[in-house]
């Protein structure tokens, strides 16, 4: 459940953590790997506690039977002086693990104090503490630990614990500082500060709970590290050699040449114990990592089935699609329709359930047309854009048909294309301009290079000189000077980056360009310039556009047809002018009332009450009814379908999915389906 939620949030917009979810990470530990890890760690803990009680011998007791292999009397054999290795191992667990644990506690305490303080203070305090942490990070731990340990009188574990803690706090402090820095800018901390809460209170109540997952990960990492370092120090003979720990066993094995006499039973168990315990700890840690970073979780178990299904489909199907011959470019098309979406569904497959983000969408795009798709965030419009470009990854599953008609009139179902066919089809016929050019451009490649690789992949015959000329031409089309070819994305302004994206989108002269909120991140003036440029290019080059945005007023200006989406469905579709004059669906009317128009008469801004619905728990009947000002008694019971509406004076046929139109009987199909 949580998995699906995170993925949907990821494709639409990033989730905002709330106070309530602060401890949700505890649930994440239930993954199978983490469970196995916890079992391993648990067993070791029990052994460490009861070890001395169940040990068959005194670990230091010398006996006559030296250097014997495993036997019934000595399960793990004996040392040169006849000491029982199993007993040493059991006693050793106590020292090794308590030193590891105690060092990690002290180190974590240090890193929490330094990290949180530095991150929260900022300014000079932050600079100084960060510098200190970085210095400790760069210093080689082991030689430093060796030196420190060597100066200490060999009193025992306490000194070792302090030494390990002092040399290993820096990494955790660094991570925590970065986390705190990003967290303190979040809304709820700002809110706490605005209400006048004291600094200490904010750190404890608001920042700290969010950090616990990070702290836990760094703590477990330090335990592993501390056990390894303690073993190294003991192996070097820098701890008290008569105090049994796993490292001490290895020290005695090494100085007594256990290797040379072939006494493998002497050194194998101790090292194995360290490695096993370390594995257990890192498995638990991996579970926490997956929680902190939801993208890692997506790659986990739940997606496997969907991935296999996708692979099967990719192998089996072949649609026979051929790249259009370059000469036949846009020579009087036989058919007007270029792209037809038929009953498209996108579902996120969870371990126990499926969440439908796009639900039975059918749309038709004509040549040279601008089809606008509008809706609030979470309405499924971006999910639809990724479906049209087949960019969804498991656990998302696409069903339905996506029929592409080429200039010659031949049709192909894009969803059935094989991997190779799809690769040829992409960009050549259909390209996409992403929401944020900042994220969609490869930060380490100059923009010229990012056009060049498209040309190289799709036009293998093109010479370097021709490609360079084409790149210059494309950049010229969008108003970027030729000398910026070698510029990296970060060297361009926001508007320039978006223009560069459009230039890349035009590289192969595609028939269709999907534009997913291409201007949302820009200021109004730049928005305007870019939209005008897109329209001008469209008129000149004749491509069709699917334009996705929440900005309905913008859409009305530039679209031929507008489709409005709500909860994964198209709820209204109409010619832009008809739509503007009179939206038929109450949701469309609400959306239209939420934005000022750039031109045209003034109207009152109203907005829509309530929030977009949770796709996993949609209301019965019409999904919009809880927010609808016009809802009546049938709305919660009947699931409306798109019905034709005819009005005097309308420019084109239009449809809306609302019980107000066509009478409740027209939606009778929806009655049976109401419990979808």
């Amino acid at each position: 459940m949580a998995i699906t939620q995170a993925i949907i949030a990821d494709t639409e917009e990033s989730p905002t953590p709330s106070r309530a979810s602060a401890f949700a990470w505890v649930r994440a530990i239930r993954s199978p790997g983490a469970l196995i890890g916890m079992v391993i760690v648990g067993i070791f803990c029990v052994l460490a506690i009861i070890g001395p009680l169940i040990a068959p011998y005194d670990p230091s007791a010398v006996s006559a039977g030296g250097l014997r292999g495993p036997s019934a009397d000595h399960w793990l054999g004996t040392t040169q002086t006849g000491q029982d290795i199993l007993s040493q191992l059991l006693y050793g667990a106590q020292i090794s693990m308590s030193v590891g644990l105690a060092s990690a506690v002290v180190a974590t305490l240090l890193s929490v104090i330094v990290g949180l303080t530095a991150g929260y203070l900022g300014g000079i305090g932050d600079e100084a503490l960060s510098l200190l942490a970085n210095v400790f990070l760069v210093l080689p731990t082991l030689p430093l630990t060796v030196i420190l340990a060597a100066y200490l009188p060999k009193t025992g574990s306490l000194g070792i614990i302090l030494v390990i803690a002092v040399t290993n706090w820096a990494w955790g402090a660094r991570v925590l500082r970065a986390q705190t820095l990003s967290l303190r800018k979040r809304d709820f901390v700002e809110a706490a500060r605005a209400t006048g809460e004291r600094t200490g209170g904010i750190i404890l109540r608001d920042i700290f709970p969010n950090q616990i997952a990070v702290i836990a990960a760094s703590f477990l990492g330090t335990v592993t590290l501390a056990i390894l370092i303690q073993a190294s120090l003991a192996f070097l003979g820098l701890t008290s050699v008569t105090e049994w720990s796993w490292g001490t066993i290895l020290y005695w094995a090494q100085v007594s040449s256990a290797l040379l006499v072939g006494a493998w039973w002497w050194f194998v168990p101790a090292g194995l114990a360290i490695a096993l315990l370390g594995t257990g700890l890192s498995l638990v840690n991996f579970g926490i990592d997956e929680f902190i970073n939801p993208r890692l979780r997506q790659a986990g178990l739940g997606t496997r089935r969907a991935r296999r299904a996708a692979a099967r489909r990719a192998r089996m199907t072949r649609t026979g699609w051929r790249r259009r011959p370059r000469t036949a470019q846009r020579s009087t098309p036989v058919v007007d329709t270029i792209l037809e979406i038929r009953d498209m569904r996108v579902e996120y497959v969870g371990q126990h359930d499926r969440t439908r983000a796009v639900d039975g969408v059918s749309l038709t795009l004509h040549r040279g047309e601008v089809l606008g798709i509008a809706g609030e965030s979470g309405s499924g419009k971006s999910t639809l854009a990724y479906a049209i470009t087949r960019l969804h990854k498991p656990p998302a599953e696409i069903t339905g048909e996506l029929i592409y008609t080429d200039a010659g009139g031949a049709t192909t179902d894009v969803l059935k294309m094989s991997e190779d066919e799809l690769r040829d089809f992409r960009w050549d016929e259909l390209s996409i301009v992403f929401q944020s050019a900042m994220h969609a451009l490869n930060p380490i490649l100059p923009i010229g290079e990012q056009i060049d690789d498209v040309l190289r992949a799709h036009r293998p015959g093109m010479s370097k000189r021709d490609r360079d000329a084409r790149i210059a031409e494309l950049l010229g089309l969008v108003g970027i000077q030729k000398d910026r070819v070698r510029a990296y994305p970060h060297e361009l302004s926001g508007g320039m980056r978006q223009r560069a994206m459009i230039a890349i989108g035009l590289a192969l002269d595609p028939e269709v360009i999907v534009m997913d909120e291409p201007t949302t991140a820009l200021d109004v003036v730049i928005q305007r310039q870019i939209v005008e440029q897109i329209m001008e290019l469209k008129d000149r080059l004749g491509f069709a556009v699917i334009f996705i945005t929440h900005d309905l007023s913008l859409l009305i200006e530039l679209s031929d047809t507008i489709a409005v989406m709500y909860a994964g469905r198209v709820v209204e579709i109409a010619a832009a002018q008809d739509f503007y004059r009179e939206p038929k669906h109450p949701y469309s009317a609400g959306l239209l009332g939420s934005f000022p128009t750039l031109s045209g008469p003034r109207r009152e801004l109203t907005g829509i009450p309530g929030a977009p619905p949770d796709l996993r728990r949609l209301p019965t009947g019409c999904a919009f009814h809880p927010r609808c000002p016009l809802a009546f008694d049938a709305c919660p019971k009947v699931d409306p379908v798109l019905v034709q509406i005819t009005d005097p004076g309308q420019r084109a046929p239009r449809e809306a999915a609302c019980l107000l139109h066509g009478g409740v009987e027209a939606h009778a199909d929806g009655l049976a389906e109401a419990t979808r």
């Binding site: 290895l250 090292g271 370390g278 050549d428 970060h490």
Partner: protein, 324 residues
């Protein structure tokens, strides 16, 4: 380039901190190491040698500042005193004999381990959700193994049981040290087991780090865009996903050099390799403070130099750092 300057200043501060720490430790730690040392030599030391020790480890009759100035003078002129464990060799001579071995072995193995681990991590991340994910717990296990213990197992299997490789040392004693085929051949032959140990244990950490970064990067818009562009799979994997995923992995590489070098040094002990690891072991056994101090300083400075190189390489990898 500004970033390189800032990093340069940071490394100078770190070097200063390490050297000063070296000065402070014997003076603030309980007990007087130098008295213990002099007592152990039982009058075999010349007055000059004792004087040199006092400069390095503290003398009660001068001010702390004067001691600090004298200490810096000794460091800069390379006077680290006499080694106790290798008496009567001066510390610098002991270091000189062992540094080369360690530098060659560890620098090659660290880079190799990084390349192999990152390469595998890239593949496992790219093919996430397939059987390759099973490598994760395996690498978790391998990276939790203490280096030196893995070395013991390797020696036991390949040197003692199978007798494929020599047991210990850095070269065959029948060859003469120098730039000749015999010696180089035997040095390579002797280095195979230690090298394998270091590379094998280092791979795990890089693999998991790179795999996780790869998975994170694959969800970025620019990778989606590369796919939408219909680029060949290799291009998407290398130039779009891996090239970006490697950046954090690479700065992690610089950060963890200190740890990796430390772990590798301890493996030398098991192989009785003639590098500074074995020297460190002997120094620790004999409480040879002058040698330990010099080793710490040397290892720290070597790690700092490696960090500087890694930073310069990073500037070439990430155009965003080249901004002025």
């Amino acid at each position: 380039m500004k970033i390189l300057l800032r990093r340069g200043i940071f490394y100078l501060i770190t070097a200063w901190a390490a050297i000063s720490l070296n000065f402070l430790l014997p003076r603030i730690m309980p007990g007087s190491p130098i008295d213990a040392l002099i007592a152990k030599f039982r009058g075999r030391l010349s007055p000059q040698a004792i004087e040199a020790f006092r400069v390095l480890f503290g003398q009660k009759d001068t001010s702390l500042w004067q001691q600090y100035v004298d200490y810096w003078h000794s460091i800069l002129t390379g006077q680290f005193g006499i080694s106790y464990a290798y008496y009567p060799s001066p510390v610098t001579e002991v270091l000189g004999n062992s540094i080369g071995w360690t530098l060659v072995l560890i620098s090659i193995c660290t880079i190799l381990g990084f390349l192999v681990g990152t390469g595998l991590g890239m593949l496992v991340g790219w093919k996430r959700g397939t059987w390759l994910d099973a490598l994760i717990p395996v690498t978790n296990f391998i990276s939790s193994i203490p280096y030196f213990w893995f070395a013991m197992v390797i020696v036991f299997v390949f040197a003692i049981t199978l007798r494929w490789f020599p047991l210990s040392g850095g070269y065959s004693i029948t060859t003469e040290i120098g730039f000749n085929a015999d010696f180089l051949g035997s040095a390579v032959y002797y280095a195979i087991l230690p090298a394998f140990t270091i590379v094998a244990t280092a791979i795990g950490g890089w693999l998991i780090g790179m795999r996780n970064m790869m998975v994170t990067t694959l969800a970025e818009d620019f990778v989606r865009m590369a796919e939408a562009k219909g680029l060949p799979r290799r291009r998407v994997m290398f130039t779009y996903a891996a090239r970006n995923a490697i950046l954090p992995s690479f700065s992690g590489f610089a950060m963890s050099l200190g740890f990796v070098v430390g772990g590798s040094i301890v493996t030398e002990i098991v192989f009785n390799y003639p590098g500074i690891g074995s020297v460190l072991f002997k120094a620790a056994q004999a409480q040879d403070y002058p040698l330990m101090q010099a080793l710490f300083l040397f290892i720290t400075l070597a790690v700092l130099v490696a960090n500087v190189l890694a930073d310069i390489a990073y500037v070439f990898l990430d155009p965003r750092t080249r901004e002025n």
